[in-house]
Symmetry: C2
Subunit: 149 residues, 2 copies
Amino acid sequence: MSGSRNGVPVKPSRKSARSEEAAAKLKAAGLRPTRQRLALAQLLGAEHRHVTAEALHEEAKRAGVPVSLATVYNTLHQFTHAGLLNQVVVDSQRSYFDTNTGSHQHFFCEENGELIDIPGDTVQVSKVPPPPKGMAVDRVDVVIRIRRG
Amino acid sequence: MSGSRNGVPVKPSRKSARSEEAAAKLKAAGLRPTRQRLALAQLLGAEHRHVTAEALHEEAKRAGVPVSLATVYNTLHQFTHAGLLNQVVVDSQRSYFDTNTGSHQHFFCEENGELIDIPGDTVQVSKVPPPPKGMAVDRVDVVIRIRRG
DNA sequence: CCTCATATTAGAATTATTCTAACTTGGTTG
DNA sequence: CAACCAAGTTAGAATAATTCTAATATGAGG
């Protein structure tokens, strides 16, 4: 068995620019660049995206990446702690992860559960009051809920 | 068996101002003023509150109100549709219901899950972009996440 | 190559919520 | 009042998202 490992087809030698980049990011975050973390990082890496754990798991399976749902959850949380992803809370059931870690806001369509980015310099929030004693503001989330109409 | 019905102690004749008020609200919303809806409305009615279904169910049980968790969920959703409550999405696991239906915002303490009201005329949100074609803004949610620090 | 701390995994467990199908009840009508 | 029935309530099962567990695999260093 060569050119393959653990049942996964693997390009023998050369690594893509994408995977090099992903490996560097992981290392910088203190995460071992394992097969599944690299694969997930690449799936997430290209364009700004909003994913759920289930959706990413599906996508990975379709791409032939052998990864369990538990690992997808672990990885999404690790990436979030490392600052590579943002968790967006818009639905009290599902969790979305956003590859755009810059400060920005979202439209959220309640009908189809779709998230749409709003550039960070668009919405202005002012007169935010000081938090209670001993507390510090972590971040300010703005979600604009929309529906057909 | 008198002065009691279905195991619940009931003040025989006179109705409190609170319960009259609650009954009126329910009727206005097109909801039949049943025993459990009235009881829940009264538990919610006094002061502005943030409750979860579980918490309200506990509270009702402690108050000797015979109500199932399913009914608490049904009732919270009916009240929300009727505009008597607002559902606040801050946690992707739990749902909070807010008796303050006016436009206002919240501090959310990630450490203890507590919600704190911010008066509606405090935070200013401006430059909200127009929603995509065919969509209308339902509401704009602002959540200020805080932690010890 | 060996080792071992770190990762991954399948499947069970947990949690919040919704569903189902049977049983009440409140409001009406004769 | 007595019976009726649509609307409401219920216990418990079902679902869905997520986390946990305990066993196995793997990557990096010696």
